[in-house]
Symmetry: C2
Subunit: 237 residues, 2 copies
């Protein structure tokens, strides 16, 4: 949505509606980012209270999704947008679904943080998990930024970074399995950690989805089932 | 989409387009059901080959999604549907996203079936997992059936059955943890099973999403963030 395009609109009010909905998506994104960051902090810094707060605030993300979804449906019905605007609205409907699911994953991390805060902690804390949590937070931030600026190049980078996160996830998961094998008494606790780690990996996947919608909007190409390695080449074609 | 409504259409061709797209969604649903059933069979009956076949056929589900998605965008742009038709198209866009993700989960189950087929099997086979796999298959079938008949009552039952599946999932997961604690040598193998079990639970969640879109279409109420226990009451209001 560059300025040249926006200026093509006949109706200024319609422009304002589109802008307002984009802002609301970004605000919802900010809320989800906050939930994720707090969930990771609760886990890593052993703050059960913060975890409970995140789990309880989940409704705010859900409410944002329902409300933006309704707004999109209203715009579709009332304005019958064409071409770029139509694509934008459809992409927003998908975007908020993924944002809501990232909120769900943040809630899962938060719940595991609460459970883990009630148990013994390993001497290392959960530093390896902190790193993964920070990496997915960056990916989410990058995806939202690519959406805000409608920047396909940045979106491609997000999809590619998610591949790195997947590798990091595999490494952390192997470590979890090693812990359990070395000391079977830790199995229950490590399994709680496993679910938090898995949830982080899912956040990365959803963030990559967000980035793919941006690529679709800007390039008009559906890249969802193209391997990240081939993405730059496909867009250059 | 009852007949009375369909007869209101001015354009017969539009009716046909809508019907054709509904049929394609159901065909995609049938394909996803097949993938899921084969993945569960591969796991339970120790058929690595079948697992590999499922993992390889995943592209068919992805292709169906991309193609139906394009068709929906075309209809939105060309027909600018109003009211019920618009809601249907938007619901279909969401429906195929969830169907595609169920396809992803089937692929995960299939991959774990391949890994497990290369390892020792417990004397009990994986019967407890078979039961869960059958339960989520039934839920998916119920959700597609509710969509085909636009039956909100059946859709509510699907959402409520998913709650039962979640309880069953918890029980199977506890069993997995017990296995690992009793015999730590099984940890790696049981973790492969854990991922398959988790994927089944996710299938149930996505099937419940499908059912919620049907409820939204028929009742005009967004029930996605209402607890399953309260669903019947909400719809009676």
């Amino acid at each position: 949505m560059n300025k040249a395009h926006l200026s093509e609109h006949i109706s200024t009010q319609f422009n304002e509606e589109i802008e307002s909905i984009r802002e609301r998506v970004l605000a919802m994104g900010g809320l989800v980012e906050e939930q994720l960051a707090n969930a990771v902090t609760a886990l890593v810094d052993n703050k059960g209270d913060l975890g409970e707060e995140v789990a309880k605030s989940d409704y705010r993300v859900n409410a944002a999704e329902v409300s933006i979804d309704e707004e999109c449906n209203l715009i579709l019905a009332r304005r019958q947008p064409a071409a770029t605007d139509l694509r934008l609205i459809v992409a927003i409907i998908k975007t908020i679904t993924d944002l809501e699911r990232i909120g769900d994953e943040a809630k899962k991390i938060a719940k595991m943080a609460v459970k883990l805060s009630e148990q013994d902690r390993p001497a290392t804390g959960y530093r390896e998990v902190q790193h993964l949590g920070e990496a997915v937070s960056r990916i989410l931030n990058g995806a939202l930024d690519a959406f805000a600026r409608m920047d396909a190049k940045a979106a491609v980078e997000v999809v590619q970074s998610d591949m790195e996160v997947d590798r990091e996830y595999e490494a952390v998961m192997r470590q979890c399995i090693t812990f359990m094998m070395e000391d079977p008494r830790t199995i229950k606790r490590v399994m709680d950690l496993v679910w938090a780690v898995r949830a982080m990996e899912r956040v990365g996947d959803h963030a990559a989805n967000l980035a793919e919608y941006v690529i679709y909007l800007v390039e008009g190409k559906d890249v969802r089932h193209i391997k990240a390695e081939e993405l730059s080449q496909t867009l250059a074609d």
